[in-house]
Assembly symmetry: D2
Homo-oligomer: 294 residues x 4
């Protein structure tokens, strides 16, 4: 009988933790939840049958899961939990964190016998609700195999390498999202200036070799529709693209396009505002081209 | 009873013209074919029941179709055909041509009563064989509707705007292919330097938001496999990305990422050679990062 | 005794033509001037002793000089002059024109026995007034040597190659100005965010290896001063950087940084307005970085 | 009577320390020198009248100066010196170091009463020999004023802000050098493909608005001459451009051109080798354009 504790009930974490509660109910385990704003944890307990606890109680879980905005918040929670942790716990951090943070966090936790896995997820809020998230995991593979069954929110769990590599893959994935999204915006802006019907052009591209997740699932629904629903903040995508750029520097690699787009995303966040949906980055392209993508 | 003539029996044109021959056989029409190297046309006739003809005979067709390497070859064929053309013919150019060439070609043909449609295709040799190509058409929509039924190689036909816009959409689509492909290469190179298993990383990306046609259908089969099968030449992709860059200049648009990648593709063609498969562009990324993507 | 005719009395042309008038007065020749707005030519005659004439009279000059916004205006003037031109005239076009326009213009004029030299200038309004402009000349070198003495506004005249190469060098020079200016703006924006005193930083850079004409003569006087005096329009610099990008495509070269900056300049012109001084392009950098360069 | 100690007698440090020895001889002070390879320090003492010492003795100086390849070597020397340091010493680090290293180093030294100033220099080996280096200093301004007179190798000393800002300005300066150099190479490559005489083109650019220190002092002497004398290694310039890129990330700034060029410099170092002169980066441009710049 396993006890899990899920810390961070945001747009992603809330439905992810619901899957843990459902599994605990079915398997006879316990699903603890914690959130900075306690009312949200209480709401989770009421809706999904989890147990809202304080950090001291959460630290007693067999499997600790975190899903926070950045590695900085994980550092804070880790500092608060550290006195309460017990050897044998596995900490699964689903934050889109920083590879260098993973090294530091893994080492700190190893001192108290806790295994740290960096395990960011992909699939968005839809995937979180459906329980079909892809989890990319860096760190000790044997520890992953012990807890893998508890990740009830996952459709796919892939071990990608040593500590920090989960964060690295996630950062690169999101950098590719940023590139594919931005480039699609540029392409449509040029076509718009050339008098092309953008809906027809997108239709063609999505049936052709230039298609991407961004062109298929974001441009039509969010940009051409002028809706820009704020589900994944531009500031967070700019952060992730920036992590990929820093990783490139750390490994002394050369990635001119990822670097350029990371800069443009940061610039777009400056112009459009970091709270806007990530697709609103294309409003900078619109300003640079003097037209609206519609 | 319609007579079609297909000019240019290359890797794409050969199977495309076979669909025309099949349709003519079923519908009672004629399917003429012509190729610079006449033996290839004779071979097509033998295999698919088309009629190999000279340019003068081809010019008498109701629907003329061309599928040549660049607009320059179309100009040459057009000059040779012009004395023989007759009013009412519709010319469907499936070349990945240049929007400025379309304007010139459309005007020249209008003088002899021939309607020019720029109608490049997407889907590769697989799509050409299966008859599922996407055709993006610029020019007179009524003329398109008259001949649309003859495009037996098409799975989808989309009218995207006035003359030249078909070429424009194709150039932008291929520029997006170039960007998505190059960026995926950069991302994997950085991950490779960080010690990540690239097969696992690609597996994750293809289940996540950074995926694209390039990551799903090219990187694994052609790059990580080290096969680089030469189906679509790097020099042609560099040409197409260059057309998108020139189009951007023509419409006074701003597309910094498309511009950068067009330059990198041209540079890669310089380093790797224009005859290599387009995915071999990533060998320049490998040289810049001191590793092989495998 | 030579007759010159100077067409286009803008911010550059007006003082350039004054040098021709001064030379004619000293040497016994004639200095004709023409301007689209005739009053400006009359003003030039009154101030500098030139002769304001119509296009028909200007066409009779031994040396015809043009200094117009773009090659399009040169085409218009050429069409108007063509019936009046006489063999033996040398046409020196000081416009920052397009290499492809030079080919066309040279061929047209050769039909009537007129030699076309593309001869753009560098040095700005200060250099025009001081008579110290650098002239970069493409075309027939013997013709250049015959008329070189008449270029009284020049401090330096350099023959750089065949027809169109003068325009090519000018476009690349201005593209380098664009790159050096933009990069200096980026560098200072980053330093500004890091809390560095920008005046001190500029002082250091201008005594160090990162200095450029842009850092030495533009950033301090025009940007940090917040004056942005409109002497060279952003739209024209974007046009020149665009010519360099198109030239790159024409020669199938690879210039990723020039391409990116041409796109950013065009984008900045879209955001800031094409009439602003070229240094105001850095206001886009400011928006992207959330700070003012001061 | 002041005692200085200069640690790191490389291509820059050797002549810099000679100025300290000359000053000590004139003023009655002592000039200690240390080098990892002791023979080089002995040689310095023999040639310039300095005193070759071990690290323990060097730690007793009033002013400690370091000039090492990267901040990592400074960290090593600092660790070795720390037990021997005494309060009141000012440490002037002339390394082209990392802003984040400055924060760490300043804090460590403050614990033992030593003031750390980040004080990188610009001017190259020529400036080091002539004693005309520009020194850009971050950290406590009062401490700088106390020791400024000892910096006998300087032609100009500028305080640019708090701790780390000296390194930041140096990194940005070198990033600008990288951009200006690379862009000049691209421009000449395009002109070369267009058939322009590159010597003439460079002559024009250096008299025009596109000129930079790179075009004036590097392209002609080192690139067009095909000499590429190895005075400043490409790997070090790539490192500096990378520091500027990381600084951009740290301050959440947006610098797309600096980012792109940092990536291209790293890529060029991968292709050409990090030990080559920094101007040899342009050999990657040559490969991408299929021509030699000469």
């Amino acid at each position: 009988m396993t006890t899990t504790a899920f810390l961070g009930l945001g747009a992603m974490g809330f439905p992810m933790a619901a899957h843990l509660a459902r599994r605990a109910s079915a398997q006879g385990g316990r699903a603890l939840v914690w959130n900075r704003t306690a009312a949200r944890a209480a709401d989770h307990a009421a809706r999904h049958g989890s147990e809202a606890v304080d950090l001291g109680a959460a630290a007693q879980a067999d499997v600790l899961l975190t899903c926070l905005p950045t590695s900085a918040e994980v550092d804070e929670v880790l500092a608060a939990l550290q006195p309460h942790l017990r050897p044998g716990t596995v900490w699964v951090d689903c934050t889109s964190g920083h590879p260098e943070a993973a090294a530091r966090q893994r080492a700190l936790l190893a001192e108290v016998g806790v295994t740290f896995l960096d395990a960011p997820v992909s699939g968005g809020t839809n995937g979180a609700q459906a329980g079909t998230l892809t989890v990319m995991v860096g760190g000790d593979e044997a520890a992953l195999r012990r807890v893998e069954g508890e990740l009830a929110f996952a459709g796919k769990v892939v071990h990608v390498g040593g500590s920090g590599t989960g964060f690295a893959v996630k950062a690169v994935n999101n950098a590719l999202l940023a590139v594919n999204l931005w480039a699609a915006g540029e392409g449509l802006a040029v076509l718009g200036r050339a008098g092309v019907d953008l809906g027809a052009a997108l239709n063609v591209i999505n049936a052709s070799s230039g298609r991407s997740n961004a062109s298929e699932n974001l441009i039509g629904q969010r940009v051409l529709s002028r809706e820009f629903p704020a589900t994944f903040a531009l500031g967070l995508l700019a952060k992730d693209a920036g992590i990929a750029a820093e990783l490139t520097a750390t490994v002394k690699g050369s990635a001119p396009v990822l670097a350029q787009v990371a800069a443009l995303m940061r610039g777009a966040a400056g112009v459009v505002g970091p709270e806007a949906d990530h697709t609103a980055a294309l409003k900078l392209i619109e300003a640079m081209n003097g037209l609206e993508l519609r």
